[in-house]
Amino acid sequence: MVVFNEKELMAKEKKNNPSFVKTIWREIRNDKMALGSLILLMFILLAAYLSPLFVDQTALTRVNFFNNWKPPSADNWLGTDDGGRDVFGQLLLGTRNSFTIGLSVTLIAGIFGLTVGLIAGFYGGIVDNIIMRIIDFLMVLPSLMIIIIFVVSVPKYTIFGFILIVSAFAWFGKARLIRSRALAERELDYINASKTLGTPSWKIMSFELFPNLSSLVIVNMTLTLAGNIGLETGLTFLGFGLPAGTSSLGTLISYARNPDIVQNKWWVWLPAALLILVMMLCINYVGQAVKRASDARQRLA
């Protein structure tokens, strides 16, 4: 009887005490804008990631000069590019690549920055000092320039290389952010409590400190993810983006290099530009809901 009751109570309590993820979901559900954004985003991403199922990739890379620069039509929903290739298909593939890049960069930089930031913030003192001096140095590196030099220097240049290079310059800002929060957080008594309870440092970092920074991390990650989707756009324009022939939203937008294309061949670059905008907006709206979820004062739900 008691046991049964306890189980029931336990279930009830568990239900009443949603995890952070559930809180986020509840928050999103209560914000029409965020919910709409999430659905739209999911739709776009599903279309993009499932595109290999219904887009013939070999046909997409097949050049047909008799068909180049064709405006949108029933055959080519978004017209064709300079090689007569279907822009719509490339848009789907490009979204997949760009999103993968954005997500990977966000995750890699996020995880690395998080680890370094946590270590610096948790230990403080001399460890923090050394790490921060290194980060200070990295912060003043002219990253765009060095990325460009990197891109030119590496012999094998692939999407993966691109992700690594960009991530290499994206983590330290995060590390700094995390570190400053961790420094403040470690002064709080629950960390002291763990220390006095004999919990080892790595456990404190990963099971005490980290969960309390997780909302900061998640909020920061969603917002940077929005920024990172269009990451390669600028580099591609300068000619240092992804290897040629890899479709990405940046490659498509980079067609907008001269007035003729901007004006008369809008179908090549405009959809990609709009898609980036839409995805950024969506992620941003979702991000804001996440931000609210992490801050009880602002919660709608």
Partner: protein, 580 residues
């Protein structure tokens, strides 16, 4: 100029460096463009002409023919720097310029006589020793630049001077203030087209030989960057570095009064060039191919074009460069060693479509390795290898490259897998689709080609690979700008470092040798030799030339007396004017 090797970036619609002289339009070309503006009104007395220097980066501003390296600086210099000898439509020197010449009977010595009224912009007369100074600078041991070339080294005594063994160039003899003779070690027809005749104002820039300043100082000096002088029709009034130049009429130009009071040169980006023309902000400029279609439609713009001194090709890796012997070695074990396969691959390429569809006719299929610009040497009767996939298949069958396992891809004559790695340069926007297109063409005849490393290579990386005879590369796409000298030995000779195909044959050695021998001063002889050579190349296919190209110049319709045809009176900048 003696000119041969000039790798051109795909889509680099800029004419190859030096001043171009053109040829009548190739009969095969699909399009016909005028070479001269149609406006025949008289030029405005004190007009202003604006030249748009189409470039996405600023010009370097080394405004001395000795030291400059960028083609853009040459564009700037055309208004105020002149060669002493003029050239005709065949790129051959004439006596119409600021100096006259005579060639000795042994074809080894040329004597120049500078006309009396030829003065520098500061009023000083142009002297024979100024031309000597040019040679003294170019051959100087401290000279770091790319203008020290074959025809300079060919001057008697130059190698010794260049090594610093002597401070006199024994082959150059200043006879008087206005007369100078230059003697060459070897007699070659290049003497008529590849000789350096621009003087350097010794009094203005300072004398390195006399120890007034060092080579480094002279290069960096304001005398060639801020207030350079020449004896051309216009003098430099003002320079905004990298961006624009203001020229003023040189009142005592030796030919007479230049047409305009001022000439303005400004850099416009390729994206904006056409718009600037349309708005009349510039009067003439070269137009990138990708804007041809819109340029055609612009009301007040007229398009001139001539075939450029360049061609694009697919090269086949046939061997290595032997660094010790400094020569190319053909290696029969290379994948591409079978001539029939090479021929087939040429037949398989649909260059016509590329020219017509992608370039709107501004490029057309190439037939031989001597471009049609050299009308006397280009063998118009040689059809090259036209697009013919059936023939290509037949050739492959003949070579024994058959699809043994039935997967649609041919195996080699031993029945082994046959996949080619293709290196191509990135850069131009069309580079990628073109590479893709060729791969498709070859696939159509059953040859599997893939991009080396799965992507295009950047210019420097590409040439690094070729230079190192990277064995990974089986075939590659490149482009050469030929100078104004038809001699191809710099690209295909046994000892040519730029012979990235590493193709050698005795017949080839023989023909190339003959083409520049003293006998070749005879035009018919030379023509015959080059016809033979072209035939050899079409047979052996060390490279498959793909397309010849047009270079487009757009002019505002108010421009008069402007021609892009070398040797005509209106080719000279002093004639160019604007009407009301």
């Amino acid at each position: 100029d003696e000119g041969t090797k000039d790798p051109v970036k795909e889509d680099d619609s800029k004419p190859a460096a030096e001043k171009e002289k053109e040829e009548p339009v190739d009969p095969e070309a699909a399009l016909v463009f005028p070479l001269e503006v149609t406006n025949t009104a008289t030029a405005k007395e004190d007009g202003e002409l604006t030249f748009g220097l189409v470039s996405d980066s600023p010009f370097e501003g080394t405004l001395s023919p000795v030291f400059y390296s960028g083609a853009y600086d040459a564009d700037v210099m055309q208004f105020f720097v002149e060669d002493l000898l003029a050239t005709d439509g065949d790129y051959l020197i004439t006596n119409d310029g600021a100096a006259t010449y005579e060639i000795s009977d042994d074809n080894k010595t040329i004597t120049l006589k500078i006309k009396d009224n030829v003065n520098w912009h500061d009023g000083e007369p142009v002297k024979a020793s100024d031309l000597l100074y040019t040679y003294e600078l170019l051959g100087h041991p401290d000279y770091v630049g790319e203008r020290y070339d074959f025809m300079i080294e060919n001057v008697v005594g130059m190698p010794a001077y260049n090594k610093g063994e002597t401070d006199k160039i024994s082959g150059i003899n200043v006879i008087s203030d206005k007369e100078i003779s230059i003697t060459y070690t070897e007699a070659t027809p290049s003497l008529l087209s590849g000789i350096v005749t621009y003087p350097t104002p010794r009094h203005h820039v300072g004398d390195v030989i006399a120890g007034e300043l060092t080579m480094e100082e002279i290069v960096a000096s304001d005398k060639i960057r801020v207030n350079p002088i020449g004896f051309g029709p216009y003098k430099v009034a003002k320079i905004v570095p990298g961006e624009s130049v203001l020229f003023e009429r040189s009142e005592d130009y030796w030919r007479g009064k230049p047409a305009n009071k001022t000439v303005v040169l400004k850099v416009v980006s390729s994206a904006t060039a056409l718009e600037a023309l349309k708005k009349g902000e510039i009067d003439f400029a070269s137009v990138p191919v990708d804007q041809y279609e819109i340029a055609k439609k612009v009301e007040n713009v007229e398009l001139l074009a001539k075939v450029d001194l360049a061609y694009t090709y697919i090269g086949f890796n046939l061997g290595q460069w032997d660094t010790d012997k400094k020569e190319n070695v053909t290696d029969p074990s290379k994948k591409m060693s079978n001539k029939l396969v090479r021929q087939a691959m040429w037949h398989a390429m649909d260059n016509d479509t590329i020219g017509k569809e992608l370039y709107h006719g501004l490029r057309f299929p190439a037939t031989t390795l001597v471009i049609p610009v050299f009308a006397s040497f280009h063998d118009a009767s040689n059809p090259g290898r036209a697009y013919d996939p059936e023939k290509a298949k037949a050739l492959l069958d003949e070579a024994g490259y058959l699809d043994v396992d039935g997967d649609g891809i041919r195996e080699n004559d031993k029945g082994e897998e046959f996949i080619l790695d293709f290196a191509s340069m990135s850069g131009g926007e069309t580079a990628e689709p073109i590479a893709q297109f060729y791969i498709q063409n070859w696939a159509d005849v059953g040859i599997k080609v893939q991009l080396l490393d799965g992507r295009l290579h950047e210019f420097n990386a590409f040439y690094d690979m070729l230079k190192a005879s990277d064995p990974k590369v089986d075939i590659f796409q490149g482009a050469w700008g030929t100078g104004s000298d038809p001699d191809p030995s710099g690209l295909y000779g046994r000892t040519a470092a730029f012979n990235y195909n590493h193709y050698t044959s005795e017949k080839n050695d023989e023909l190339l040798e003959a083409g520049t021998s003293e006998k070749a001063f005879d035009l018919d002889y030379r023509k015959d030799i080059y016809n033979q050579w072209q035939e050899l190349m079409v047979e052996d296919v060390p490279v498959a030339p793909t397309v010849y190209r047009y270079a487009l110049t757009a002019t505002n319709k108010r421009m008069v007396n402007y021609s892009i045809e070398a040797g005509t009176p209106n080719y000279n900048p002093w004639m160019w004017g604007v009407s009301e």
